[in-house]
């Protein structure tokens, strides 16, 4: 098992980051599956990160409490801004959530006494173990899986396709959107908490526009028609920078190219169950004909 110990010594951070990125991608998947382009999850991640870090550092409370706080704080925030914001649709919602994200970042930047301002928080206890991430991912996937197969999942899909018709089928559209938004925020907060207690340092710039774009890219890249898509997107976007180390500054350029190419040529993302079904039926037909 020595190779594993060596592997782990070098790559443990990467693997755990893979997990938190998968969680982030799943968090935006939730709102996307409802037809909402909400770009606030980076901010929610940040809220979760800072809240949990303050809980462990300043209040000295145990990790599980920090995890709970790191989910509750963004969830509450999402509930508060959700009421007015979720009335907006399409572009306006995207812009409003982007604006909210910026406001959060700037507030964090300025609340120096609490958040350390631009210098960030240093010395966060590295409480995250591999099994925390694994468990978080497992539970999240389990919950989302069950959600998808229930009337809530059907309601989300109906809302995404035609909000008005969905409402007329007896679905409380506002409540469902709020559910997606708040749950997404909590998952993002969970990812932020796990991440903060892994890297032991956090700063306000980690939760801004760039992070928000990364999260969106992961989901779009992997595809949002299944639960595996976002996870795949998270894996790819975590591993890619490692593979592209040689490009130095240009590796982000490659990221950008990937995003553009995916949007142009694989609009449903890489993991698209419908496309796979088409391939299988086509090849089985060919096989039958042969």
């Amino acid at each position: 098992m020595e190779w594993f110990d060596n592997f782990w010594a070098v790559y443990s951070n990467l693997v755990l980051t893979l997990g938190t990125n998968a969680l982030l991608a799943l968090s935006i998947y939730l709102t996307l599956s409802c037809g909402m382009l909400a770009m606030a999850n980076a901010a929610f991640m940040g809220i979760g990160a800072y809240t949990s870090a303050l809980v462990t550092m300043n209040l000295g409370l145990p990790y599980p409490v920090a995890l709970a706080a790191g989910m509750a704080a963004p969830g509450l925030m999402a509930f508060i801004i959700g009421k007015p914001t979720l009335r907006l649709s399409g572009v306006y919602l995207a812009m409003a959530t982007l604006a909210f994200g910026e406001v959060v970042r700037i507030v964090v930047l300025n609340a120096e006494s609490l958040t350390g301002g631009a210098l960030g928080l240093n010395g966060i206890p590295q409480s995250t173990e591999w099994w925390h991430v694994g468990l978080a991912l497992l539970l999240t996937v389990a919950v989302l899986w069950r959600l998808r197969r229930s009337r809530v999942g059907r309601a989300f899909e109906a809302i995404k396709e035609d909000e008005t018709a969905a409402g007329l089928m007896g679905i409380d559209v506002g409540a469902h959107k709020m559910l997606a938004f708040v749950l997404g925020a909590m998952i993002a907060g969970l990812a932020g908490t796990l991440n903060a207690h892994l890297t032991f340092f956090i700063g306000p710039n980690e939760y801004g526009f760039d992070r928000g774009v990364d999260i969106l890219t992961m989901a779009i890249l992997g595809g949002i028609n299944s639960l595996f898509g976002p996870i795949l997107g998270g894996i790819m976007l975590t591993v890619l920078p490692e593979l592209l180390r040689g490009f130095k500054d240009f590796r982000l350029v490659v990221n950008g190219f990937i995003l553009v190419l995916i949007v142009l040529f694989l609009p449903k993302g890489i993991w698209d169950p419908a496309r796979f079904r088409q391939w299988f039926s086509r090849s089985s037909r060919k096989g039958a004909a042969a």
């Binding site: 572009v91 306006y92 995207a94 909210f100 406001v103 526009f209 130095k248 950008g256 553009v260």
Partner: protein
């Protein structure tokens, strides 16, 4: 001194307005939220700086070069990225995501080529002159910004309101299909709009680079965010709203720095945006026109 602040605010607001105009043109005519506009803005600044440094061009030539260079860049973005998506009739958030990719390419590409540090305009090309009028210290740079901006805005307004071209653009903004059926060369006008809007963005980049004397790869990002705030505040696709919104933001920012403190300056735009969206989702001027395809 209030008057001095107001003057500074005016020049800042002019730049914001120019940027917002390009952004709004693309949204109004092409129906796309072009999140690479901030990157194009930044490229404009770099284009001017490099042209003026390497070719020893005077400022006016640098501006012109920037306009053309960015115009071509905008055209390329349209032809390579936006046009295929138009052909596919993609839901309108998809092109927006694609432009995010373009922005990443441009921002990081420029950083890779030129490095992350501040670049300055050659001091020989930029005059330090200032005049003192009614107790106000007016630098020639700021005056130039204000004059050029108003000139460009005037040209744009006249073109849109009084010319056949302008009418065609407004028809497309209402409904591209109907405009097409009326015999308007919709695709050609898309190209023209992409060119002109990007050119305007590039010029705005040069002007801000002059105003703050700082050109760096990520300079476009905060401007982009504020541009978004401006056009939503002013009503999306509304030219008047974009201009007035830009000017308003300039004033709001400068005054808030003067009276509240500089740290929250960037939050002004977003705080305002957030509040306005909650109260009037259509913005201050916009009528939420559902674009008929």
């Amino acid at each position: 001194m209030l008057e001095q602040q107001l003057f500074n605010a005016l020049s800042l607001g002019c730049v914001y307005a120019l940027f917002a105009l390009g952004f709004t043109l693309i949204f109004g005519v092409l129906g796309v939220i072009n999140l690479s506009h901030g990157a194009v803005f930044m490229v404009g600044a770099y284009a001017a700086v490099e042209a003026m440094t390497l070719l020893h061009l005077p400022l006016w030539a640098g501006l012109l070069f920037s306009f053309v260079f960015c115009g071509v860049l905008g055209l390329l973005i349209d032809v390579l990225v936006l046009k295929p998506l138009r052909a596919r009739n993609a839901p309108h958030l998809i092109p927006m995501i694609a432009t995010i990719g373009v922005a990443i390419i441009l921002n990081n590409g420029v950083q890779g080529i030129f490095g992350a540090q501040n670049v300055r305009f050659p001091s020989s090309a930029v005059s330090d002159d200032a005049i003192t009028l009614a107790g106000l210290h007016l630098t020639s740079v700021e005056l130039g910004i204000i004059l050029l901006s108003f000139a460009l805005m005037a040209v744009l307004i006249v073109a849109l309101k009084k010319t056949q071209l302008g009418r065609a653009l407004r028809a497309i903004a209402e409904s591209p299909k109907a405009a097409y059926l009326l015999g308007i060369n919709v695709e050609g006008l898309f190209y023209l709009t992409s060119f002109a809007a990007a050119g305007l963005g590039g010029v705005a980049g040069v002007l801000i680079g002059l105003y703050s004397n700082a050109v760096f790869p990520l300079m476009g990002q905060p401007i982009l965010h504020k541009g978004i705030a401006v056009i939503i505040l002013g009503g999306m696709g509304d030219i008047r709203g974009a201009m007035l919104g830009g000017l308003f933001l300039g004033f709001a920012e400068v005054l808030s720095v003067a009276y509240i403190g500089s740290t929250m300056r960037d939050a002004v735009a977003f705080g305002l945006l957030f509040l306005v969206l909650l109260v009037r989702p259509k913005g201050l001027f916009g009528t939420l026109q559902e674009r008929k395809v």
